[in-house]
């Protein structure tokens, strides 16, 4: 390991993917929470809070996906994954798409009809929240946070 090697700076003993992942998880889950609250209480302010949380969650998903894929390509030399690592990769990709989809639905609804969301939006948000939580759990298990280590 070399302190000025780009791979070392980005991954070894830093594991940026593990650090960055907390942002979209927290922002997305709190965004979904505020969105449910906004629909229930019919408050525009809560809907705005939800929208901006989901927006930043969607933005922060991009570096997480990039660092995750780079870690796979650099640290594991892109070898064929199996087991927990493969499951984490697949769930991570699905979660990322869902996070971006949820934000996109909100943006589309805002542009077309103000704050009124289509009926299918909340169930998709709930499913996305479950996917994000399971992916995060797998990641925590892989990194040792949720395991015995």
């Amino acid at each position: 390991m070399h302190p000025f090697d780009i791979k070392t700076v980005l991954f070894a003993k830093h594991a940026q993917h593990v650090v960055l992942i907390h942002f979209p998880i927290a922002l997305f889950i709190i965004g979904v929470f505020f969105d449910f609250l906004a629909q229930w209480k019919k408050q525009r302010l809560l809907a705005a809070v939800a929208y901006y949380n989901l927006l930043v969650a969607a933005i922060s998903t991009v570096p997480v996906v990039v660092t995750g894929i780079l870690a796979w390509q650099w640290e594991l030399e892109g070898q064929k994954l199996k087991g927990l690592l493969l499951m984490h990769l697949v769930m991570g990709c699905i979660s990322s798409v869902l996070v971006l989809l949820v934000w996109f639905m909100h943006r589309k609804a805002q542009r077309k009809q103000g704050d009124a969301l289509p009926g299918y939006c909340l169930p998709i948000e709930a499913v996305a929240a479950v996917f994000v939580a399971v992916t995060g759990h797998l990641g925590g298990f892989l990194s040792g946070v949720n395991g015995a280590g």
Binding site: K82, G83, L84, L85, L142, G144, G147, A148, G149
Partner: protein, 120 residues
Amino acid sequence: MRRSVFVVVAGALLAIGLVASVEGRRGFAFSAQDKTSMTEVKIDNFSFGPSALTVSVGTTVTWVNRDDIPHTVVSTDDAKTFKSKVLDTDEKFSYTFGKAGAYPYFCSIHPKMTGKVIVQ
């Protein structure tokens, strides 16, 4: 009388021979087992055990993943002497050390997991 003494002595010699044979085998088994265990590194609970291993030139060291989590074994010396694929539970990786020296290594998935093989 002579015959019975002969039978007793022969029986005693046979018993001694049998005991010696069994003990000898057991002793051999223990020494062989000691040698084998010395060259095996167990990966468990996010650590390499033993974390530092001293072996002689030509020894093959085998890492066995007994953890529920996938791990790798990657040397951190300048020559990058050895690098395993991702080892799932119960999978093994072996490397034969042909040169004397110190070979530090780590798990590239969990960089805090480190170990060292000293070849003499």
